[in-house]
């Protein structure tokens, strides 16, 4: 692992105001969130529903504006990026979501789906270049080139998630934000996708920010872990240390509640 910080988030906060029974109430989705992801590092974020994981991801992807705090990428503040620079950021940081079925347009074929981010980033790229890159990526994620002309509904869950991974990699990003990337997949297919993620990280020196509720999966894939509850970080540190020697009662309760095969 190199020591270059890739993504630095400092004091990030976001609240939503809600009207309930006539009264206004502020929901603090994320409060004072600080984290650093280094080049080639894999950082996990654990927490239950309502812990603010999704709001956090959306802010890091610049899909949602934070109320407070600073996001730096490769040393530059990126909170207010616009136009060409925003496009460049989106090339460096790609996302894979839980439900690839809804992330993939049902009216596009696999070839177009995988090629789309590249065409957005480099509209003048040649057709043969696109074809080459799509073909080699599909091969890399373990999909047959025959699937190029298929639509998402013709694919299985595991295949769709692999298309989503291929699509995120075509612009050669430095970091992937993975929001519950395998929780919709079956056990026998889940390990295929997790192994693929581990291999790609190794080959390409990718950094991962992986959000998941499954602690066993986080233990396999990440080296640093942040536990969130109600928008705040309750515990963080090296994944093994946090999970095997949990200090905070909330982390301990997550570990105890984990269904285990061998107790």
């Amino acid at each position: 692992m190199t020591q270059n910080p890739l993504l630095q988030v400092h004091g990030l906060g976001k609240s939503y105001s809600m009207r309930r029974r006539g009264r206004r109430a502020d929901i603090r989705a994320v409060q004072d969130f600080t984290i650093t992801v280094h080049q080639g590092e894999s950082v996990g974020i654990a927490g239950e529903s309502g812990s603010g994981k999704s709001t956090l991801t959306r802010m890091i992807l610049l899909l949602e504006k934070p109320d407070t705090g600073v996001i730096r990428f490769a040393g530059r503040e990126i909170n207010d990026l616009k136009g060409r620079e925003l496009l460049a950021y989106r090339r460096e940081v790609q996302a894979v979501f839980q439900d690839s079925a809804s992330a993939l347009s049902p009216r596009m074929r696999v070839r177009e789906l995988v090629a789309e981010p590249l065409l957005v980033q480099q509209p003048r790229v040649s057709r043969s270049e696109v074809d080459n890159r799509v073909a080699s990526l599909l091969r890399r994620v373990g999909l047959s080139a025959k699937l190029c002309s298929h639509y998402p509904h013709e694919l299985s869950g595991g295949q769709k998630q692999r298309v989503a991974v291929a699509r995120s990699l075509i612009v050669n990003p430095k970091m992937l934000v993975l929001d519950e990337p395998v929780s919709a997949l079956d056990v026998s297919v889940r390990s295929q996708v997790l192994n693929l993620l581990l291999d790609l990280k190794e080959e390409r020196g990718l950094a991962y920010l992986m959000i998941a509720h499954d602690l066993a999966i986080l233990r396999h894939v990440t080296s640093y872990l942040v536990v969130m509850r109600k928008g705040r970080i309750v515990e963080q540190g090296h994944t093994d240390k946090v999970l095997l020697h949990a200090q905070h009662p909330y982390t301990q309760s997550l570990v105890t509640a984990l269904p285990s095969l061998w107790t």
Binding site: E48, S49, S156, G157, G158, Q159, D186, V187, S188, V189, R190, S191, Q192, L194, N195, L198, H213, D214, L215, A216, I217, R219, H220, D240, L243, S253, L254, V255, T256, A257, L258, P259, S260, L261, W262, T263
Partner: protein, 332 residues
């Protein structure tokens, strides 16, 4: 009752086919298993393995007209439910067999208070009691599933509850009439780990207190591990292995069960860099494969596996497998 040796539920050779315009899907392709009184059986399988369709066929709520129960018997106390009239079957549902689904929002009525929904369920078998008495029973049922201030919460609507609480309400309705068997189809898949843990504890309590049998359907072996006495593993519409919980987890016999257990990321124990993976994709159950459905992904496959479906080998009353590798030589 004199039904000493008859299991509470005995499913024999069940086949449920779904007829679509793209052809027939053999959702359940000859599934057999038994559940004893007071026993919790885990029905484990990946999506598309036919476990939900099996439960729906037991309750006869399979999505008609596309899904058709082609063959088999569903014996409850020795009586074939598939031969019952629609009217008699209505009395079995809720009274003898209760059911909880994955998403409680889809089984609860959003515009009725949960008290009214419980009263509606109770009224089906009790035409004489006053409404106030049924309301009292409804409150008791809610208290039984661990809902605090039940006397106030009966007036609340489903949207006012959290996911875990809604699932408790669904459980209260399912067990309101003290069924002998509770079918829970992925009851905790939509819940957070801590909520899941508490809900599974509740199911165990209900089973212990009432001697109720449980058919727990899940894709998560971890859920089964803390809750069930025996496990049936489904693959491609068939039950490939049944065994006691301990045996399934520690000495799985069928290659699919073994592969499935190895593929689960383990929290305890050694941390591996790469996970064990089963190559290939789950079957689509469209083609009429003559052989074992797991053969295309199996690492121990030989020529018999593709030619003919393996016979079921019984070890004792509680366990069996369907795999050519496990058929003794002299029987082949």
């Amino acid at each position: 009752m004199s039904a000493g040796t008859i299991p509470l539920l005995d499913v024999r050779g069940l086949r449920v086919y779904v007829h679509t315009k793209d052809g027939t899907v053999r959702a359940v392709d000859g599934a057999s298993f038994k559940i004893e009184r007071g026993e919790a059986l885990g029905l484990v399988g990946e999506s598309g393995s036919g476990k939900s369709m099996t439960c729906q066929a037991i309750m006869q709520i399979e999505p008609r007209p596309a899904a058709v129960i082609e063959e088999g018997e569903v014996l409850l106390d020795g009586e074939d439910l598939l031969k019952k009239s629609a009217r008699d079957m209505q009395r079995v549902r809720g009274n003898r067999i209760g059911m909880i689904l994955q998403d409680p929002l889809s089984s609860l009525n959003p515009v009725m208070t949960i008290g009214d929904q419980l009263i509606e369920a109770l009224r089906l078998s009790d035409k004489t009691s006053k409404r106030s008495q049924l309301r009292q029973q409804a409150i008791v049922a809610l208290e039984r599933v661990g809902i605090a201030k039940a006397d106030q919460r009966v007036h609340a609507y489903p949207f006012e509850f959290s996911g875990g609480m809604r699932q408790r309400v669904a459980a209260a309705i399912a067990i309101a009439r003290y069924p002998d068997l509770l079918i829970a189809d992925e009851p905790t898949s939509a819940l957070d780990v801590t909520t899941q843990h508490r809900f599974l504890e509740l199911l165990k309590d209900l089973k212990r207190e009432r001697g109720m049998s449980l058919l727990l359907v899940t894709h998560d072996l971890g859920v089964v591990a803390g809750t069930c006495d025996r496990v049936a593993v489904m693959y491609g519409g068939r039950v490939v292995e049944i065994g006691k919980l301990e045996q399934i987890l520690r000495q799985p016999r069928h290659p699919y069960t073994r592969a499935l257990l190895k593929a689960v990321p383990q929290f305890h124990g050694r941390r591996l860099e790469r996970l064990f993976q089963i190559s290939g994709e789950p079957p689509n159950n469209r083609e009429d494969l003559p052989g074992c459905h797991f053969a295309p992904r199996c690492s121990e496959v030989d020529q018999r596996c593709d030619a003919e479906y393996p016979p079921t080998v019984h070890y004792d009353d509680a366990s069996c497998t369907a795999c050519w590798r496990l058929v003794p030589e002299d029987e082949t």
